[in-house]
Symmetry: D2
Subunit: 349 residues, 4 copies
């Protein structure tokens, strides 16, 4: 019973097999491997973006920080939700990679940016000219940190506000596949057609060993991206092992299958939790994460059985009245089984 | 016939098997996996350094830059050889990670630092106090970029000069195993016993998919290192896959076996080249790299047969007199076969 | 009628005379001038801090950024009020000088930090360990950006909360003298006795040409400060001209006299504004700045007469109903005359 | 007898008078003062560059670092002479302001860049593409750190080499006036007509209190420069005091008169030194600095009489044989009197 994070799950067998296969013989390093050529073609096709540039890195933090750094100057600000991963969980990596850009924190329910909050923040920026940090870039997380998703129309509404002020838009898609399969739209519709210039396309949380793609729909600064990646220590010599993972991920829709499995497990879990007397959801379950509360006694039982998940916020105690509500975050991954979910539900019921 | 770089070689089968094995079930992310506990213990034992702190990253550039950044302030300088990887091949990653430290370039034959050059450089530093960049850290590459090695006594001589001025020493050991097996000394003798405070222990060039260990013999700033690693985007969520590689690498002396194979291939190749009329070595062959020159016609034949290696310097042409000498760099990896070497030798002879 | 900012006012005659006097003959550069020795002694005496280290720079942004950079690591955060100068008016200088520290924005009325907001922010920091930005430093502005002041007890309450979490405290004292004379306390009581480790002691807004002192009550990192100042281009070769200004400023209590004059002008102005029908103050007038609103027709008259001040917020229009309230910021300086104030009051009445 | 540096000299009376004059009444801050409009017009006229953008800062380090930062990316290198001020005397300020650019050190006698050294360095840069630091900017110091000067033709030869590789050129003109009056050419001939895109136009060493102008002949990135200046804490609120100095400096050719006086003093001093038996010059005396050696006994006498200057290198001792040669640096400023020079010469003869 592992719900601590989707990054605690295994890699998909197809991915491991591809790595094994890639290990045959020698290959030119640093992205000059032939597999990378195929990956580039795949992503261009999947995203209907024949001119997009594609780069692989191994962590989501690297993908986000490097993408943002090519889109923003040190004296500009990054607009993002107060709960965005880039604000909350990257130990200041965006500040590091951008050379000290500020992050302007936006409001909105369930970690989704309220358009009005974005509009006000942009209006407020640089009102005194040279004395203030300047307008930089918008970063949208989809699926969000609370497991909710933006529709293409919602993305387009935000990017339109940004574009009106000359600001490009980035999407942190660490869980892009989870959002995509839920929406049933095309990758293009959720990205460049909705005004996104650069996408961090997650793989690690969805069944890879450790690969994220950065997709630059606007390839103007592709060479700068390459230099930043190298300078950041994120250009792999044995790059073929990254390429192989991503190739397998995109082949025969594996990435979508994996995301559907994770989402389905989350649905099953959420439905079961809501059957627990007193339980409730804190956010809509739209991807593979659940934020819910249920009575303390259920938490005691689950943790006694070594179920892994986090109280949310962290500092709630197992000590106290049995029936008091304790809130928690549970994240499913592609390999979360029905049996695992059901065992957990039995414990907390 | 692949001699372009050791990073073009495959991963060792034991390493791939370990990754497959690590893929079973779930694991806590970000280095909290149980394999990492074993790796830490292994390295402490292998290096006879029970208090050393050990961290894994995926690239050599990350290992070097993060280690150096914890040892030097932005207004200090890094003393290194003019040909060091950190100066020549990391696109300024040390400058990026340190916040703008300078690199003071030292001289010495075959990419080995001349102690007198170090002494003079240190004496020259900060002669005008606050106006100058200050003394920072010494970085020694072993094996060097030209395939030569430092003995423990040579390392100790350099670190002693540094220590006299209060300067700690780092070792870039991207090819540490190749140096070690050639010297026949212990890991401790070549590192902390010789005055090294932090080691970048290479794995990728020697049979891993992509893992380097940073070993902090002085663990005072270990927590800072962890924060820098995270902030640099180099903390892996599915860390178990790094741990598993390193565990296999260190188990039953695999790392030493792989290095011996690469070195032996280089010896065989060097010996053969010297049989070519007119051929000569530019540097002693002490690890797994060969810098040699032989007549142009041999290069033509080799490249016609699609042998992969680099002219060194790059800009020498295949056009020109048959017997003119062209110099080249050839690097063997653990999987370089005798047949491959012999086929190459036949072509250039 | 100049109320746009106190930095639009002239320098005090005593200050100009001191610069003229300092121009005689030659002097050792870079702070080795004898006047600086006297300034250091003056500040130590005025602040009853015999071990404090004292440095001069020419701008408040430099003073704040350099002081903060010696107190915080790039992966740590600076706690400050949402309206602090370091957040709002320095174009990201703190981020630049610190190497990318975050600023955590606190709430509280009239630009004064609410202790509870500080407590909650500290508690929230680094809840997930290495994944988050870490606790860094507290920065308090006194007098604040809205012209209010903290008492020594209020400062001490905030620094105590910080110290409980191991966090040092900085004071942005661009208008320190204005706060001090209003409070009638000693410089020591308002700084180190109240838990402040480093002070940006403003001079420019209060009658100097351009000098701020950084006073390090905790001199542990004084040498680092000197290196950062030089590296930032803020070490003056003809330093004697900075020293001379500061010496004059502190001699015979000139700095206090100047601040009293500015505060008195603000009081007179505020009192007069409140006599305007419908007018009101947005913040208490405790230093030399006034935030007030009065009917639009009064603004029209004042601006027709070329009175200089800012609408606050900027984007309010002179077009519209006569009696609608328009809010504004007015700042007095030491040279603001009663006649100037009275002329203005007549216009808006 | 003060020859320690030209920055130890006084400001010119005309400059002090201008500051006094500027102190009348109020003025809009941050460069919006009317004097700055006149300064901008003056510089455009003097340099025959009607589209140049002009900014004032207070230190040479700020001028150089900010100018270079707008011309180079963090992953690019700055080509300069090994003895350039930006390499030797700014505590890494260029690295700080550029976000970690490298400085590639060039050779050449008397601190003048050998064109062949530049050509080779450029050729060597980025030979391996993304793995290396990239070509950035050329920085030429005129007059040089050893008191020599480049002719317009020499400047043009270097900038042409740079331009062939797409590299812009910067001139560190901390002692620009000293070079200019010696050459007898126009400011345009020595700068933009010779291929210079940005100039740090020194004032402080030549009779100002503390002002340098940055002249951007290519104004494309002027707004970026303004933001960098503000972010670096180098935008003065009471900017009129900088403007006033520069206006006086450029009025009626004051800057040229001051430089001629300093150069003449250096000529007189050099001529006198060469009359000392055994004395010799280390570099041609082409501006206001002298590098010369003469017998130790003369140094003893001079230093007993408290003459101020530096041994060059620093570490030569007054202890030792009377007739051994000790080398030194002597710098004259506009106020160095014949009497002062003659007194010194008498002592060392």
């Amino acid at each position: 019973m592992f719900f601590a994070s989707d990054n605690g799950g295994p890699a998909a067998p197809e991915v491991m097999a591809a790595m094994m296969h890639a290990n045959e013989g020698t290959a030119m390093p640093y992205g000059a491997d032939p597999i990378m050529d195929r990956v580039r073609a795949q992503i261009r096709e999947v995203f209907e973006a024949p001119e997009a540039e594609v780069y692989l890195v191994a962590t989501g933090t690297a993908a986000n920080s490097l993408a943002l750094a090519t889109m923003v100057q040190p004296w500009q600000t990054i607009y993002c939700h107060r709960l965005a991963h880039i604000e909350e969980d990257e130990c200041g990596a965006p500040e590091f990679y951008t050379g000290g850009s500020k992050l302007t924190l936006l409001e909105g329910p369930s970690a989704k940016i309220d358009p009005e909050s974005l509009r006000q923040a942009i209006d407020y920026t640089a009102r005194a000219g040279v004395h203030n940090v300047q307008k930089g870039v918008l970063s949208i997380t989809n699926a969000t940190e609370t497991g909710t998703i933006y529709t293409p129309a919602e993305v387009a509404e935000l990017t339109a506000i940004a574009k009106d002020s000359g600001i490009p838009a980035h999407m942190d898609g660490a869980r892009f596949a989870n959002a995509l399969v839920r929406l049933g739209c095309t990758p293009a519709e959720l990205t460049w057609e909705a005004g996104i210039e650069a996408l961090s396309l997650g793989g690690t949380k969805n069944g890879l060993v450790g690969v994220e793609a950065v997709v630059l729909f606007n390839p103007n600064r592709a060479w700068e991206f390459e230099l930043r990646r190298k300078r950041g220590g994120h250009l792999f010599s044995k790059h073929r092992f990254l390429s192989a993972q991503m190739e397998a991920y995109l082949t025969d829709g594996l990435w979508l299958k994996l995301a559907r499995k994770a989402n389905a497990a989350a649905d099953r879990l959420a439905k079961g939790i809501l059957n627990v007397p007193g339980a409730s959801l804190m956010h809509a379950v739209e991807a593979n994460a659940i934020f819910a509360s249920w009575p303390r006694k259920g938490h005691r039982a689950a943790q006694a059985a070594e179920a892994k998940y986090y109280h949310w916020p962290f500092d709630q105690s197992l000590e106290g009245p049995d029936d008091e509500m304790i809130s928690a975050r549970l994240v499913c991954n592609w390999a979360t089984s029905d049996a695992e979910v059901d065992q957990f539900l039995q414990l907390i019921s």
